[in-house]
């Protein structure tokens, strides 16, 4: 097959209880003009796609622990295989929780330290964007972006050795910050260790973050910084057409 898709195609995974899949689909179809497919969790084939989205929500009711049951859905075998091939995967909010439970990213997300659900706009400091080229390649080290957060269980925890390894590898790519870019306890909305809002896997293709880029992709809803992640993906895909073609 020599045909290369002109437009990025994203697979958006839907578990029972997922609630942000339509926002991602809307941004893909209406804002970006991309192709997308909603993939029900019982499917074991993602279909032809250039990137996979695990959206926010409450997969399987978040029973037992957030993301704990979702990791056993058949679609996760396909997501794991896609990630193992180097495909771009993003998990936002509940999707981040699923990625940690599935072992695709280290650590865990726990109840916010103040025990409240937090829904707000949040400043984030971008760090080591080159470590996550598929999703942050268009952003600069130290740049501040603003994205919505909406979660009750976003407190990132991991043992000190894991945290140190993440830091040493430049894999902490988003941190909660104040408007001046300072990472302080007051700027931390959930008590996450070291202000961690987003991390990437060692290979750099799987990003997990608590904020919602899909909710900051149109000026009408208050901000467009989320589009920067999608623009990064599009550029990254253009730069590796051979890999994209292999998956057709």
């Amino acid at each position: 097959m020599t045909v290369t898709a002109a437009r990025p195609r994203i697979a958006v995974v839907v578990f029972p209880g997922t609630w942000s899949e339509r926002d991602f689909a809307h941004v893909a179809a209406e804002v970006l003009g991309w192709e997308h497919r909603l993939v029900w969790h019982l499917e074991d084939d993602l279909g032809p796609c250039d990137a996979v989205v695990l959206p926010g929500g409450f997969a399987h009711g978040d029973h037992l622990r957030t993301g704990a049951v979702a990791r056993f859905s058949p679609v996760m075998r396909a997501v794991e295989a896609f990630a193992a091939e180097g495909g771009a995967v993003i998990g936002s909010c509940n999707g981040f929780q699923v990625l940690t439970e599935a072992g695709l990213l280290p650590g865990a997300l726990m109840r916010n330290d103040h025990l409240e659900f937090r829904c707000d706009w949040q400043w984030l400091r971008v760090e080591h964007p080159a470590a996550a080229p598929a999703w942050l390649g268009d952003l600069a080290d130290g740049e501040l972006i603003s994205l919505p957060i909406s979660h009750g269980e976003g407190r990132y925890v991991a043992d000190p050795a894991t945290l140190d390894a993440l830091e040493a590898g430049g894999r902490v790519v988003l941190r909660y910050a104040d408007a001046a870019g300072a990472v302080t306890p007051d700027a931390n909305p959930n008590g996450s260790e070291r202000g961690i809002a987003g991390i990437v896997n060692e290979r750099g293709n799987v990003l997990g973050l608590m904020p919602h880029p899909e909710r900051a992709s149109e000026a009408e809803v208050g901000g467009t910084d989320g589009l920067r992640l999608f623009a990064s993906l599009e550029r990254w895909l253009q730069q590796r057409p051979a890999a994209a073609e292999r998956r057709l």
Partner: protein, 86 residues
């Protein structure tokens, strides 16, 4: 399932504050956890222990933040559930 020692437990802290506000002034070190009870069949005690250990590792506890401990109770006779109230 209980939280590992180094993991902050805001629910436990809140419960501790509530108990102290009720007058139990000496309450400290409150840790919250989760209890799951279920019935299942196994050939013998060792097989039952092995099964529960595997269940804890694969699903019931997240080793990043939790440790699991368990207690096995044999049913009086086959078909009885030691879980449901009689």
């Amino acid at each position: 399932m209980s939280l590992r020692g180094g993991i902050a437990d805001p629910e436990g802290q809140t419960i501790g504050s509530a108990l102290r506000s009720l007058g139990y002034a000496s309450v400290s070190d409150v840790r919250s956890g989760k209890l799951i009870r279920f019935a299942f069949e196994a050939d013998d005690h060792a097989a039952a222990e092995a099964s529960v250990d595997e269940m804890c590792r694969r699903l019931l506890a997240n080793p990043v933040m939790e440790v699991a401990s368990w207690e096995l109770r044999a049913a009086e006779q086959a078909g009885d559930s030691p879980v449901l109230p009689s």
